[in-house]
Symmetry: C2
Subunit: 148 residues, 2 copies
DNA sequence: TTAAACCCTAGAGTTAGGTCCAAAGTCAAC
DNA sequence: GTTGACTTTGGACCTAACTCTAGGGTTTAA
C-alpha cells in the first residue's frame, strides 16, 4: 500500500496556492516533488504536502523564500557544519522572530486602544477619536506617544 | 522658538533609511514634509519624524505601504465615513494582526523546540537533531507534526 | 571663490515573489 | 477517436518597494 500521490492541481487546491507558485518554488529549490509519472507529471507525496505547509507557514510569518530555503537546506552542507553552526542559525531566526512578535504586539496594543476609544456609531466620522489620533500630526502637533 | 527642522539627510540618518526611500514615501503620499526651504529643500518637523516612525513600525510588522497609506489617510474621506466604517477598518487590521501573531508564535515554538533539542556542540552536524527534524521528509517520512 | 558636502527632479533599473501566456503532450470519458 | 480537463516547458510580464543615475542647483567653510 504505497501512499496516495497528488498531482499539481490537487496539491494546489489543497494548500490554496497556484500551480505556478508550486512550480516556482520548485525552480527555486524549495520543493521538488518526490516523483514524476511516466508522462512527466509531478507527483507529490504526503511529505511534500507537509513541506509546502511549512513553507507557507514560514512565509506567512515573514520569512523570505531565501531564508526558508536556508532553513530547509541546512542538511545539504551538514558535513561542513557543526551543531553549533546549525543551532546558531536557528537561534538567529528565533531572535529575529521574537523581536518582530514584540513589535507586532506593540502595534496591536495601539490599534486596540484606538479601536476601543471609538464609539463605532453610524454618524459621520468627523469627530472620530481614531482619526483624531492618527491625524494629530497633520495639525502640527506630535502623534500621541501611545501611537508609536 | 520654532522647532528644529531636519533636512532629508539628517532625517534619513536618524531613522536609518535612505533619502531615496523618504522621497519615495513622499511620492506615494505617505509622508510629505511640512515645509520646503527657499531653495526647495525638504524640511521635516518633529511630527514628520514621528510619522516616519509610525510608518517604519507598521512596515516592520508587515503592513504594506498601501495599508499604511490607508491607515494614515483615513481622515481625507472622513466626511464620507461613519465611526463604524473607521472602526471596522481598524478592527480588520487588528484581526489580521492577531492571526499573524498567533502564527508567528507557533513557528517560534517550533524553532525553540528544535534549538533546545540541539546539543550545540562543535562536532560535525551529521547527527544534529535540528537537521534530522527538518530533514525527516527527505527520507520520505513526514515532518514531525511539531514542525508545522 | 572654489571645493566638499549637501540637496533637487525625472526617470531607468533592480529584486522578490509571483502570474500569465503559448504550444504541445496526456488521460478519462463518452 | 474525439472532447475536455488535466499536465508540461519556456519565457514574457507584473507589482511592491525600493535603488541608482544623470544633470543640475545650494550651502558652508577654507
Ligand atoms: Zn464616533
Ligand atoms: Zn470613531
Ligand atoms: Zn549535536
Ligand atoms: Zn544539533
Amino acid at each position: 500500500m504505497s501512499e496516495k500521490k497528488l498531482r499539481i492541481g490537487e496539491l494546489a487546491r489543497l494548500v490554496q496556492v497556484s500551480q505556478d507558485t508550486l512550480r516556482f518554488y520548485e525552480k527555486h529549490g524549495l520543493l521538488t516533488p518526490s516523483l514524476r509519472s511516466q508522462a512527466g507529471y509531478r507527483l507529490y507525496s504526503q511529505a511534500d504536502l507537509e513541506r509546502v505547509g511549512f513553507i507557507l507557514s514560514a512565509k506567512r510569518v515573514g520569512f523570505t523564500l531565501n531564508e526558508i530555503h536556508d532553513l530547509l537546506g541546512l542538511e545539504v552542507t551538514k558535513d561542513d557544519k557543526s551543531c553549533e553552526d546549525v543551532k546558531r542559525f536557528v537561534d538567529e531566526k528565533l531572535d529575529n522572530l521574537n523581536q518582530r512578535i514584540g513589535e507586532m504586539q506593540r502595534i496591536q496594543k495601539t490599534l486596540k486602544t484606538l479601536s476601543d476609544a471609538c464609539c463605532g456609531g453610524a454618524e459621520p466620522a468627523t469627530h472620530c477619536t481614531i482619526l483624531e489620533a492618527l491625524n494629530a500630526q497633520a495639525e502640527s502637533g506630535p502623534i500621541p506617544r501611545r501611537l508609536l
